[in-house]
């Protein structure tokens, strides 16, 4: 329940933040990597670094992480199949993976695992669609129901909740 409330607050905060739809969209697209791919991997460190350093919505990234975690679990069999195809079936890629797996630092990416590679590739393929879709969704939201939600009792309660206030203390 707490997690759901937090997710709702995060969603409301992101949608009503001062960030532009482009920044929020990029944040969502980057944050999706954290949820779609197995978290304890080197590429996610790079994603976190990008979320922090690039001028995109960090909050949207965190929100996307939470939203895409169950999606990642659901899509694991597909990631496994995609990764298996890339690593095993596509023999023309074998020299690439052999070099990758035997190159210092690159070998630490775990891209020789079917789920890790499959999920990263799927995420990269979805990056632009996710960015554009979330950008479009934010624009639509703000032009249609955004202001009404802002004025709603629910939003005020949500914003006034102690948890939200605690969150605001730590808001960068």
């Amino acid at each position: 329940m707490l997690a759901l409330l937090k997710l709702l607050q995060s969603l409301a905060k992101t949608l009503h933040s001062e960030g532009t739809p482009t920044q929020i969209g990029l944040g969502v697209a980057l944050g999706a990597a954290l949820g779609l791919t197995p978290i304890a991997n080197a590429h996610n460190l790079v994603v976190l670094l990008l979320l922090a350093v690039l001028n995109v919505s960090f909050g949207a990234g965190m929100l996307a992480w939470g939203v895409f975690v169950p999606v990642g679990f659901m899509l694991d069999p597909i990631f496994d199949r995609v990764g298996h195809w890339l690593l095993v079936d596509a023999s023309s890629l074998r020299p690439l993976w052999t070099t990758w797996d035997n190159t210092p630092v690159l070998a630490l990416t775990n891209f020789n695992n079917t789920v890790v590679l499959g999920s990263v590739v799927v995420w990269l393929a979805l990056f632009v669609p996710l960015w554009l879709a979330s950008r479009f969704a934010v624009v639509r939201y703000r032009t249609t129901v955004g202001e009404r939600v802002r004025q709603s009792h629910f939003y005020k309660v949500l914003s006034a909740s102690s948890l939200y206030n605690v969150y605001r203390w730590f808001r960068p």
């Binding site: 001062e18 482009t22 979320l51 001028n55 919505s57 993976w97 190159t103 210092p104 703000r142 960068p172």
Partner: protein
């Protein structure tokens, strides 16, 4: 600090509804405003977060790695691996482990190896490729065969090692070790056999069903041939042309008539070819059935053995007695050696092809990890050399030893050399005068070859239970040699025992009185003062053969033959007669069925051939008659 993705207060108005008629999205500035791409101050919380993760790692890394090592090691070895503590020395790229115990996969109450301390220093550069190249390995206070405080838990589930263990147990069960049953022969009054247990009866029943389906298939094949239709059509044509004058038909009519007759002749020829094809099929099918009948007879021989075992009829042949006395203990020895060899072959595969293993355990799907091997690169694991002092504190081999291992690696094709290991005794003790174990795992080429040699002299040999008798053979001090070679899938294992002072230990807990045969065998055995035993397990790994010979089996066999040889022969004859009657009951109707099928097929084919030949002859005569009347008729 501002929210990531936010703009500075004062720079732009907070988000609001779009301006009327404005095309730009809300909060996207209508006038181009340069938005900074980077937010360098965002790196501060990231660094703080990473520092926090680093601090957690420093506190818990040892524990996490220890648990992971225990879990992965247990899975890989198929037996419990315990590590009391683990410490990572990042500066030295080294790991120090204490209290390491590997349980014996064949005895849960013992440890195969127990080490008080292990220090592993790794080369740092290969770590960046997730590879472990051991620079220095120090093992302290290594003991084997120690008693565990708590029995090791069984390793279940998937993974190679547990399945290899199960495979080895299945492997051991496949041997047909003769029984040394010393039941008095005169107690065998009647032989009760369930026909369903006899392989030859099962084969005969299956063959009968096969014969029925063959008969149906052949009948269907004959039925599908248009023999009668072809004959009727030909006869009708010949009847129509009977008495016809070629000259009255005219050239056109005669040509048409000849053409009709030739078509009919072609149909007959085509049918003859089909008949010949069917004849070949029928011959092959019946030959197969005859082969099946021979297989039934072959299976009968194994049924004789089965019946002998069922009524526990002792064998008086020396090889059988030898296998009965030492077969199980030989198989146990070879099975253990094979288990470790199977693990070595799994984890040290030949060749450079990418290898697939299960991915790491995590909440998400593990997937498959593919290891790509590159020429001139580091292998995933390499231990160039290790010298270890080993202390065996318990059992007949107690004492101090030196062990050495070279070129232990996961990719032998990269190292290009076989992994060698050797253990030798350095100080005499009460257990063994000399012990030497050497081994070579040559997986550098496509055909792996594993050799293990164990040579122990002046060793306290373990006592051996004598099946069926309340005695244990106590060979005392003697020699034991084991040489195991697995070349590809060909196994050659030889185990020899020799003792000049064989003793016998009576089982004092046994309360049953020995019968006459048992008493005799016991008297004979306990009078034998020496032991010489040679056992061999040879052949393909999937179906090896066991052969054992010893001085004991010769003595026991001779005595048994003198005492009960005649009765055994009579009992064997009775067994054969009983098996024969049961098998004949089922196989005789099948034999008759096969013979009947052959006769029926031959008769139908001969009959069809005869009719078609006669009809073809008539058609040829008709063609000649028609074409003879017209000059130049095609």
């Amino acid at each position: 600090m501002s929210t990531a993705g936010s703009v500075r207060s004062g720079d732009a108005a907070p988000y609001g509804p779009p301006a009327a008629g404005g095309a730009a999205p809300p909060n996207e500035p209508t006038t181009p405003r340069r938005v900074a791409i980077f937010r360098w101050k965002g790196i501060i919380p990231l660094i703080l977060g990473l520092a926090l993760v680093g601090a957690v790692w420093l506190v818990f890394a040892d524990r996490i790695l220890r648990n992971t090592l225990e879990e992965a090691g247990t899975k890989a070895l198929g037996t419990e691996l315990d590590v009391a503590s683990l410490h990572i020395d990042a500066a030295q790229t080294a790991v120090e482990l204490t209290g390491i115990a590997i349980a014996d996969p064949f005895d849960a109450k013992r440890n195969l190896i127990e080490m008080k301390r292990m220090f592993v220093e790794l080369e740092p550069a290969p770590l960046l490729e997730k590879k472990l190249v051991v620079k220095r390995l120090t093992l302290g206070d290594v003991r084997t065969g120690t008693v565990r405080a708590t029995p090791a838990r069984a390793v279940g589930g998937g993974g190679f090692a547990p399945s290899a263990l199960r495979e080895m147990q299945r492997w051991a069960k496949q041997f047909d070790v003769p029984l040394l049953s010393l039941t008095p022969i005169d107690t065998i009054k009647s032989i009760i056999l369930d026909p369903g247990q006899l392989a030859s009866v099962k084969a005969a029943i299956a063959l009968g069903q096969h014969a029925d389906s063959t008969r149906t298939a052949l009948a269907r094949g004959f039925g599908a041939l248009p023999i009668q239709q072809t004959l009727d059509s030909s006869r009708a044509l010949l009847t129509r042309l009977q008495g016809t004058n070629v000259r009255t038909l005219g050239i056109g009519g005669a040509r048409a008539a000849v053409s009709d007759v030739r078509r009919a002749a072609a149909r007959v020829d085509s049918l003859k070819r089909q008949i010949e094809a069917l004849a070949t099929t029928a011959r092959l099918a019946v030959d197969t059935l005859q082969g099946g009948l021979r297989a039934v007879d072959d299976a009968r021989r194994s049924d004789y053995d089965f019946a002998r075992r069922l009524i526990k009829l002792p064998s008086v042949d020396a090889p059988d007695v030898g296998a009965a006395l030492f077969g199980k203990v030989t198989i146990d020895k070879v099975q253990q050696a094979l288990y470790w060899t199977a693990l070595a072959r799994q984890y040290i595969p030949p060749g450079l092809l990418p290898r697939q293993t299960a991915g790491p355990q995590r909440l998400r799907a593990a997937g498959t990890t593919v290891h790509f091997v590159q020429q001139d690169a580091y292998p995933r694991f390499l231990l160039r050399r290790a010298d270890v002092d080993v202390t065996v504190g318990d059992g007949p081999a107690r004492g101090k030893y030196i062990a050495a291992v070279t070129d232990a690696t996961t990719e032998p094709a990269l190292v290009g050399k076989p992994m060698l290991f050797a253990i030798r005794r350095v100080a005499s003790g009460s257990g063994v005068d000399s012990l030497r174990i050497t081994g070579a795992l040559d997986h550098a080429k496509s055909r792996p070859r594993d050799v293990l040699t164990v040579d122990a002299q002046g060793v306290d040999l373990p006592t051996l239970p004598i099946p069926g008798l309340p005695y244990r053979a106590d060979p005392g001090r003697g020699s034991s040699t084991l040489r195991l070679t697995i070349d590809g899938d060909q196994l050659d294992a030889r185990w020899g025992l020799a003792s000049g002072k064989l003793g016998w230990i009576a089982d004092t807990t046994a309360t049953r009185r020995l019968n006459a045969i048992e008493s005799l065998v016991a008297r004979v055995l306990t009078g034998v003062p020496t032991l010489t035993m040679q056992a061999r397990v040879t052949g393909p790994l999937q179906a090896p053969k066991l052969a054992v010979s010893s001085n004991l089996d010769r003595v026991v066999g001779d005595q048994l033959r003198n005492l009960v040889g005649t009765q055994v022969a009579a009992a064997e004859a009775k067994i054969r007669a009983r098996v024969d009657s049961l098998v004949t009951e089922k196989s005789a109707p099948v034999k008759a069925k096969v013979a009947e099928l052959r006769a029926e097929a031959d008769k139908r084919i001969a009959d069809a051939r005869l009719k078609l030949d006669a009809e073809k002859q008539k058609l040829d005569v008709q063609i000649k008659a028609l074409s003879g009347g017209l000059v130049g008729l095609p």
